[in-house]
């Protein structure tokens, strides 16, 4: 298929663009932050996402969803990124939905996601750098398992209804769908630089039933891989939105702002840097679309996903750095939005592995 949006996807993008810009613009995030909101997102807005059908994009039609793909999810995520909208969309409607897809656990959780009742969080990372290592243990106990260990960087983990948890079982990795009210689970919310909230989770012998297993016991690598591919590709799409938003804001500023009696956008040094940034963002955008299309086609997307996450990290980091620098002093103020883009980009860069992590993975896959 051609590497651009088809008509349906374009229409969805227009819808998402209007919806997010009107319901959850940057001012929405700022208001939540200023109110020191304890959830980190707006539940009414999440309901609206559901009403728009967004939360069902990746849920099969047979399960009541729209049965669309990563391209469509990405279209929404890009607008979320562009507006810095705090939302459980990536974790819940993309990563968790993909992890659950085709498993028995789907029937339990999809309805709530479709209706906007349920928020999911991903308990994957156990150290400050995403690295795939799992120390958390799930031991057989009665009819189910007892989970012991700790997770961190779990976005909305303090208020989520569902936690997707990766743990070691006797012969491999198992992925669990853990209800957040399970006994022995402590969530410590931590405000991050971008004003989002991620939890540190402590599992002190948390008991879950056998039906909490996503897929099969010891066979968690499959759903986990789906979760990670979706999460990485989705985070890349959101980052393209963040970078694109920062770039657009900056280019607009270059066109307006006058200094020494002329528009600063007429300074060639700034023009060349802006043009270079545009090129980086375009390339990043293409890399993301490629990964999305491969995932949707059911083809091997591991390389493309790594490239997408790594490249958006490079391009978006540049976008926010140039954004702040080209705005000058005003760019340093909390009053102006450009700094929020820098903070959000940094958090997303870290999520599901940063540029170096994925570049390193590509290198290893290529045998060096």
């Amino acid at each position: 298929m051609p590497l651009y949006l088809n008509d349906d996807q374009t229409m969805l993008r227009d819808t998402a663009k209007d919806f997010v810009a009107s319901e959850a613009p940057v001012a929405h995030m700022r208001a939540l932050r200023d109110a020191n909101d304890a959830d980190g997102f707006s539940r009414p807005l999440w309901k609206q996402f559901a009403e728009m059908g967004f939360t069902g994009i990746l849920i099969p039609e047979a399960d009541g969803g729209l049965g669309l793909g990563h391209v469509e999810a990405g279209v929404v995520l890009e607008e979320i990124g562009r507006n810095l909208s705090p939302s459980p969309f990536l974790a819940t409607a993309v990563a968790a939905v993909e992890a659950l897809k085709g498993t028995a656990a789907a029937a339990q959780w999809y309805p709530g996601i479709l209706s906007g009742e349920t928020v999911a969080a991903l308990a994957i990372d156990e150290s400050a750098k995403h690295n795939g290592r799992i120390a958390m243990q799930a031991q057989r106990a009665g009819n189910g398992f007892r989970l012991t260990g700790a997770k961190q960087f779990v976005t909305h983990g303090h208020v989520a209804d569902l936690l997707i948890v990766a743990a070691k079982t006797e012969n491999g990795t198992t992925l669990f769908a853990v209800p957040s009210d399970a006994d022995g689970l402590t969530a410590t919310p931590e405000r991050l630089a971008d004003s989002s909230i991620a939890a540190r989770l402590a599992f002190d012998g948390v008991e879950v039933d056998a039906d909490a297993v996503i897929g099969e016991v010891n066979q968690g690598d499959g759903p986990l891989a789906r979760l990670l591919a979706a999460g990485r590709t989705g985070a890349s799409a959101e980052m393209v939105g963040v970078g694109g938003g920062a770039m657009d804001m900056t280019v607009a500023y270059l066109r307006e702002r006058k200094q020494f009696g002329v528009t600063i956008g007429s300074f060639q040094a700034l023009q060349h840097r802006a043009a270079h940034l545009y090129s980086e963002m375009e390339v990043a955008h293409a890399a993301v679309l490629k990964a999305q299309q491969l995932l949707d086609a059911g083809q091997d997307a591991s390389e493309a996903v790594a490239v997408a996450k790594a490249m958006t990290g490079l391009a978006t980091t540049l976008a926010v750095q140039e954004g702040v620098q080209m705005h000058g002093g005003i760019g340093m103020t909390d009053e102006y939005d450009i700094g929020f883009f820098m903070k959000r980009a940094r958090v997303l860069a870290e999520m599901f592995g940063d540029t170096n992590f994925h570049a390193n993975a590509l290198a290893k896959a290529a045998g060096y």
Partner: protein, 385 residues
């Protein structure tokens, strides 16, 4: 439709299997093994001619041109399949040709029926080798400042002046050339002429480059008579043709940045593992290189669908050429002192170093990186002058 395409793929695969000589499925050993065709063709290996002739017989040197002009008459989808199948067996390009890449699109768009029928089939079969007469001494990036004049002499133009950076002018049979037909205006006084390099008054002088090779010439026109029928497009509207072609040229040059065979030496070097920092640099380069492959695919798809921004080729040219320069910097670092040798047999007569130096021109020829960035800033980002 999808079934037809599957059939096309199967047939194409079988035909290529039967007709692409095994030698032509290996990378060229050196630049000498590149096929350029022309009146006095040079084939380092006899299979080059075989391969060219077979492909030309089906019109597959220019698969998407109409068959009436020597092309294959394939649809975009079929062309894509052919390209994929060629790539699959790692087939060499049967014909390198500025006629195909640089002139063809302009002939198809601006040529009269007579001009198309005269020139396109010879280009498709590799019978006539073309060169491009754009740049002039001291003009540099200010292409439109050109001085070579074409005086109206009734039935012909009398061309006088000098071009520079004419690729392979000393080996070309015909030239497509920007000339000044009105001195009172700048862009609007330029016309686009085609003429035979064997015409009396044409002479060339190769320019020795830092790579030690001479792919470019200075080209002199001393009272060259060019029939009026050789004007492409409208008089004084040659700048439109040139701009149209520059877009195509930029696309082609940006293709240098594409991964493919060029990547392997880097990966090999990284695998050797002697330099952990080089490994990191290669890994990060690889991210950009692979992302740019996706970008190239996206760009071509958008181009075909008429969705690409008209200035997007500038971005492709900028990014692709800078990437290619980086690739060769990394390759030189990986090669160490072996890669510095300039004449030895082991170094294939300095292939690594000469190619590295050659790539430095990527961001100069066909519009410098600076020009591309200007274009992106003004035409895409709408920044003020």
């Amino acid at each position: 439709m999808a079934e037809d395409l599957e059939t096309f793929r199967t047939e194409t695969r079988a035909w290529l299997e039967a007709n692409c000589p095994p030698e032509m499925r290996t990378p060229p050993k050196s630049e000498k093994e590149t096929t350029w065709g022309g009146r006095n063709p040079y084939y380092a290996h006899p299979d080059q001619k075989l391969w060219l002739d077979r492909m030309a017989s089906r019109g597959w040197t220019v698969p998407d041109w109409p068959s009436a002009y020597g092309g294959g008459g394939l649809s975009p989808a079929e062309t894509k399949i052919l390209r994929e199948e060629l790539k699959r067996i790692k087939a060499r390009n049967p014909l390198n040709s500025f006629g195909i890449s640089m002139l063809g699109p302009a002939l198809l768009k601006y040529g009269t029926e007579e001009q198309k029928l005269e020139h396109l089939p010879k280009i498709a079969r590799g019978e006539i080798r073309w060169c491009q007469g754009y740049s002039e001494p001291n003009a540099g990036s200010d292409l439109a400042g050109l001085q070579t004049s074409a005086e109206d002499k009734g039935d012909h133009f009398l061309v006088n002046g000098q071009k520079v950076w004419t690729s392979y002018a000393d080996k070309a049979d015909w030239i497509f050339c920007l000339v000044r037909t009105d001195k009172t205006v700048k862009q609007a006084g330029i016309s686009f002429l085609l003429f035979d390099m064997a015409s009396p008054g044409v002479s060339t002088k190769p320019i020795l480059l830092i790579s030690g090779n001479s792919p470019f010439c200075e080209t002199f026109f001393d009272n060259v008579e060019v029939p009026k029928a050789n004007l492409l497009g409208t008089l004084n509207k040659g700048w439109d043709v040139a701009k149209y072609l520059l877009g195509h040229e930029r696309e082609m040059i940006s293709g240098f940045g594409l991964g493919g065979a060029g990547k392997d030496p880097l990966v090999e070097a990284a695998r050797a593992g002697v330099d952990p920092i080089l490994r990191a640099q290669i890994a990060l380069f690889d991210v950009r290189s692979k992302a740019f492959s996706a970008m190239s695919e996206k760009f071509i798809d958008e181009l075909k669908a008429g969705q690409a921004h008209p200035a997007q080729p500038s971005m492709m040219k900028y990014y692709g050429t800078e990437l290619n320069k980086t690739r060769h910097e990394l390759q030189m670092a990986a090669g160490g002192s072996d890669a510095l040798e300039w004449e030895s047999e082991a170094s294939h007569e300095g292939a690594a170093a000469r190619t590295w130096l050659r790539t430095k021109a990527n961001s100069i020829e066909g519009g410098t990186s600076e020009i591309q960035l200007n274009i992106i800033a003004k035409r895409i980002l709408d920044l003020p002058s």
